[in-house]
Structures are given as structure tokens and as C-alpha cells.
């Protein structure tokens, strides 16, 4: 991708990347991800369970915890979830949880499940805190972060999930909207954040596939999933693929995201945060397979 600020729809038409841009994926692989990899690929775990929510949308905490354990085990390549957590976090870490607070927020049950898992891995309760928000002092004190947004479309940035989740730390959120959504990757390079994210856990229990970030049940569905990985861009690109597949299923034809989520490919190509290239992502799927919308 050339400088995205100069891009027009025609540029995507000319080089045949309109579909790729709509999906937010890079068209060649030159990332410098430091993420965990398998055979050169970034591992993303997708775990789903039909029973994680009941017909009143109440979350079954035990089922969710099983999903989380399975996803962390897979994403870390360890033999158990406990080993996976211990690989990522040490007892002397100060761990900041960064869920989405408002407008299709991360389920509180997921925050609680992650907190419990961290404690079981030996991180004391007083070294785990929710640091989402505009105050950066709590983030500065953290030695490790867990990015845990909910999966949703955003009318100002295309997608409002992983890459946008740290935007409040920048203190200038609006400056990353519209033409500057491609710069969202820069937030991940801010000194208070850079290099601290050990794992990304996306709440895909009930994603929002249009008109976000404000909730609209017409565009929400029970996907009952968690997306987990250590490469933030790979996790974002995978979530975006699910969103795009859902949009296509809803309309019966390709339904482009507007504005296009330029931030996803830019996070790969310009900021080196990970890979958005599906060919370099090892997607590992387990659990409920109805209406999966994506294949490994």
C-alpha cells in the first residue's frame, strides 16, 4: 500500500485490491511481527460454543472459561491453558486488562474469566487491573497488557476492534478517525503501550456487523466465539474476515465496509505490528461449527 492518505477508490480498482482493502488485508507480506508463529505463520485460535449464551443472552461463565482455556492453549501452542498463561505472564508482572468499555462492550464475564486465569497462573490480584480509559498513568505502570475488545464495525474507522482498542491512551481519539484511521497502528507504538501486549482476546460472542459502534440488534448476531492470538493484526484480520462474510450472507452479495478499514493493512505494512495476510495466518478452529463464516 502506498501512502494511504492519497488513496481513492479508483486506486483499489486499478490494482485490483478493492476487495483486499474492503477486507483490510495486505496484498503482500513484509511484516516484521514479533508475534508467536507456527511455521512462519501467526496463530489465531477461534473457539466457539453454542451454549455460551442462553436465549436471554446471559453468559454461562463455566462454558466461557472453557472456551478461553482452549483458545489460550491453542494460541500459545502449549499443552494446557495453564502452561499458556504462565508462558505469557510472570507473577511479578503488572497486568493491564484493556476491554471495550462502552457501546457493545466486552462482556464482563470475559474480564472476570481472564482475571481468574491470570491469578491461577500466579499473578496476584493486586497486580491485575482494568486500565482502559484516557488516563495513561495506570498503563505506564503495567509491564504487560491484554487487549480484549469486542468485535464490531465502526462507522468512522471501518472496524472498531483490536487496533482501535488503545485509542483512548492517545488522548486524541478523534484524530484517528476517517482519513487517519490508517494511523491507528501508531498508537500501539506509543511508549506507554509499545511491546507490552502479550495476548489479544476478542469477544466475538455477539458481534456487530454494521452501523457501529452504537449497538443495533438488527446487525448483531450470536456468533458465540472467542478469537485469540499473540499477533494483534492477525487477530484483527481474522475478525474482519468473519465480519465481511456475515455482511455478505446478510445482503447476499459483497457488502463493502465504509470507510474501508485501512488501519488493518497499514498496521502490517507501515507499522510492522503483525500480519494481515491470510496466507501468513494459521487459523485454528474448534468447537461449534454452525455458520462458521470462515475456514482454516
Amino acid at each position: 500500500m502506498s501512502d494511504y492518505r492519497q488513496l481513492t477508490r479508483r486506486d483499489f480498482l486499478r490494482d485490483g485490491t478493492l476487495g483486499a482493502v474492503a477486507f483490510g488485508v495486505a496484498t503482500s507480506a513484509s511484516h516484521t511481527s514479533q508475534a508467536a508463529a507456527e511455521g512462519g505463520k501467526s496463530v489465531v485460535a477461534l473457539v466457539r460454543d453454542e451454549k455460551v449464551m442462553n436465549d436471554q443472552l446471559a453468559v454461562d461463565e463455566a462454558v466461557l472459561r472453557k472456551m478461553l482455556d482452549e483458545a489460550v492453549k491453542t494460541a500459545t501452542g502449549e499443552s494446557s491453558a495453564a502452561a499458556g498463561w504462565k508462558k505469557l505472564f510472570k507473577p511479578d508482572d503488572i497486568v493491564g486488562l484493556v476491554p471495550t468499555k462502552a457501546l457493545n462492550p466486552t462482556h464482563e464475564e470475559l474480564v472476570m474469566a481472564v482475571t481468574a486465569a491470570l491469578q491461577e497462573a500466579g499473578v496476584p490480584a493486586d497486580r491485575i487491573q482494568n486500565v482502559q480509559g484516557r488516563k495513561t498513568e495506570p498503563v505506564e505502570k503495567c509491564t504487560a497488557l491484554i487487549c480484549m475488545p469486542a468485535l464490531k464495525v465502526h462507522q468512522l474507522t471501518g472496524l472498531g476492534t483490536v487496533l482501535k482498542n488503545y485509542i483512548a491512551f492517545s488522548g486524541k481519539g478523534s484524530s484517528f478517525h476517517q482519513e487517519k484511521n490508517g494511523d491507528l497502528g501508531s498508537v500501539w507504538l506509543m511508549p506507554v503501550v509499545k511491546g507490552k501486549t502479550r495476548i489479544v482476546i476478542v469477544d466475538a460472542l455477539r458481534p456487530l456487523f454494521d452501523r457501529g459502534p452504537k449497538p443495533d440488534p438488527k446487525y448483531q448476531w450470536n456468533y458465540n466465539g472467542l478469537l485469540v492470538g499473540t499477533d494483534p493484526v492477525a487477530v484483527e484480520a481474522t475478525g474482519l474476515s468473519i465480519i465481511m462474510a456475515k455482511r455478505k450472507a446478510y445482503k447476499g452479495e459483497t457488502w463493502e465496509l465504509t470507510p474501508p478499514p485501512l488501519c488493518v493493512a497499514a498496521a502490517d505494512k507501515q507499522y510492522g505490528l503483525g500480519t494481515s495476510d491470510p496466507a501468513r495466518i494459521a487459523l485454528k478452529i474448534s468447537g461449534w461449527d454452525k455458520d462458521l463464516l470462515i475456514s482454516a
Binding site: Y4, R5, Q6, L7, T8, R9, R10, L13, R14, L18, Q56, L57, A58, A102, L103, H154, Q155, L156, T157, I167, A168, G173, S174, H177, Q178, E179, G182, R211, P213, K214, P215, D216, P217, K218, Q220, E256, T258, P259, P260, L262
Partner: protein
């Protein structure tokens, strides 16, 4: 339970009162939460920009809860004019018109409608027969407290009616809104701002399709400048038919067309054929007081 709107000189304040209980849901907010243009980002983060783009003045929020049921959130947005209130609704007109307010859209538990200078949203995330009743009743309670005044933006009448997909219509001013409906470019090629009025819609003629955008600029000079900017940057290098209908075929076979007329710029886009592109550009009646075909 009340919310009191701020007023301009000469206007009477509007008191909005909501029932303490509805269909088993009980109000949990003793007073409505008031959100202002300065605090809207605290309430909804960056999404506030979409409301500020429509002359947002104030927002009042109430919550209802019922054990073992999803909560209901009631939002009353006071905008600068009825046109702006309609504009917010036009963010998404796809849904059932349930006859609340001057136009309503309902789907899956979310009721949105406009009346006068107000835009309302009543949301429950899980639709049941009870929750639907509660949401619609709350809508009617609000509707009864706000005067029916004002009309839809006049510019909407410039959209040709033949072939128009009604739920695809949007009214807006700025690039923020345009880009969330259709992406032309990262740059502000059409030079949109708070002083521009714009309407757009999707057209279908059998299997043929196109989009149509009509922009009214504050001056003909501003329209001419935007026309040149868009033509140069978006249509540069293409074979363009001569004025007054400047049409060109894009690399993927879609057609794009421009028509500049005084302070109006008409853009046909994503057109599946030259014929449809030309037909739409010609169908827009830009005569003062003119009616549409």
C-alpha cells in the same frame, strides 16, 4: 422522570417525562443523564462525531431494567433543526416504519424516529413480544411530548423517485457521513463541510444499479471548485465525455458521472452502465421549485 432541554432565546424548554414502569421494566435513573456537545465523547466515545455532524445540542438518557431481561435504553437527542433530526435518522432507514413520530424505523428491538428537532432511540438488545411492546410504548410516550414541526430536508425532493431504493437515502453535510455511506477517497475530494447539504440514494432498474449524490454548496464558486477537485483527482486519466454530463468508465467497468449546475454538483457513481449513469444525471431536476420525475 424528566429531562429538560436547553433552549435558545424565545423558545420554550421541552420537558420529557417517562413512566416509572413499563411492561415490567422499571426505570433505574432517578433523573435523565444529560449529555452535551462537550461531554458526548464521554458517553459514546468517537461515535459522538456522527451526531456533532448534525448540529447536536443535547442528549438525555434513561435506563430501564427488569430481572432476567435485557435492559432498555432510551435516548432523546435534541438537534439544531428538524432537518438535522431527520439527518440522524437517515443514517439507517432500513427497517419497519411503525408509525411513531414523523418517521420511524424499527428492527429487532431498536426503535429510532424523529419528530420536530428531536431524534429518539429506544433500544432493547433482545426482542420479545413484551420488549417490543415496551419499546414502542416508550416511543409513543416521547412522541406525544414533542411538537410535530418541520419537514424533511427540501434537498431530498431533488432525488428522482423512479428507481430509488427508499431505505438507502441519506441526508448529511460532511465527509464523515459520506465516508460512512460510500467511500470515494481518503481526501475530501468533494470539499464537504457543515455548510454543504447533501443527499444520496441507491437506484435499481432491474439488474442495473447506480448511486446518486446531490450536493448543494453555499455558492456556485464553491461548487465549481469541488467539481474541479473531484474531476481531476477521481476521474483523472479517464476518457470523459464533454459537459454538461461528464461521464467516464472506471477500471472495473463501473461508470461515474458529474453534472455541475450553479451551486449544485450531481455525482452518479457505481453505475452499472453508461445508460443508467446518464439517465440519473439527467433525471435530477435542479430548477428552482422544480418537481422530480
Amino acid at each position: 422522570m424528566q429531562g429538560l432541554s436547553p433552549v435558545s432565546a424565545g423558545e420554550k424548554p421541552v420537558h420529557l417525562a417517562l413512566p416509572a414502569e413499563i411492561e415490567g421494566w422499571k426505570i433505574t435513573t432517578p433523573e435523565s443523564r444529560q449529555v452535551t456537545p462537550k461531554t458526548i465523547f464521554d458517553y459514546m466515545n468517537g461515535a459522538g462525531e456522527l451526531f456533532l455532524a448534525y448540529d447536536f445540542r443535547a442528549l438525555y438518557v434513561w435506563k430501564y431494567e427488569r430481572p432476567d431481561h435485557q435492559p432498555i435504553t432510551v435516548e432523546a437527542y435534541e438537534m439544531g433543526s428538524p432537518e438535522e433530526a431527520f439527518g440522524v435518522l437517515s443514517n439507517d432507514l432500513d427497517g419497519e416504519n411503525v408509525g411513531v413520530g414523523q418517521h420511524s424505523v424499527y428492527g429487532a428491538g431498536l426503535l429510532r424516529f424523529w419528530q420536530g428537532r428531536w431524534f429518539f432511540s429506544v433500544l432493547v438488545e433482545l426482542e420479545t413480544s413484551e420488549s417490543r411492546r415496551a419499546v414502542l410504548t416508550l416511543g409513543r410516550v416521547l412522541e406525544a411530548q414533542v411538537a410535530r414541526e418541520g419537514e424533511r430536508p427540501r434537498l431530498l425532493a431533488r432525488l428522482p423517485s423512479q428507481g430509488l431504493v427508499p431505505e438507502s437515502v441519506h441526508y448529511f453535510h460532511t465527509r464523515i457521513c459520506l465516508n460512512s455511506y460510500y467511500f470515494f477517497a481518503v481526501e475530501n475530494l468533494l470539499e464537504l463541510d457543515q455548510k454543504t447539504d447533501a443527499v444520496m440514494g441507491e437506484y435499481r432498474f432491474g439488474k442495473q444499479r447506480a448511486g446518486l449524490l446531490i450536493i448543494c454548496y453555499p455558492t456556485s464558486g464553491a461548487a465549481t471548485k469541488a467539481h474541479a477537485h473531484f474531476r481531476d483527482r477521481y476521474m483523472g486519466g479517464l476518457e470523459i465525455s464533454p459537459k454538461p454530463l461528464e461521464m467516464a468508465r472506471l477500471e472495473n467497468g463501473e461508470w461515474v458521472g458529474l453534472r455541475l449546475d450553479r451551486d449544485y454538483l450531481v455525482v452518479a457513481f457505481k453505475s452499472s452502465s453508461r445508460d443508467v449513469c446518464e439517465r440519473l444525471l439527467r433525471a435530477v431536476n435542479l430548477q428552482r421549485g422544480g418537481k422530480q420525475q
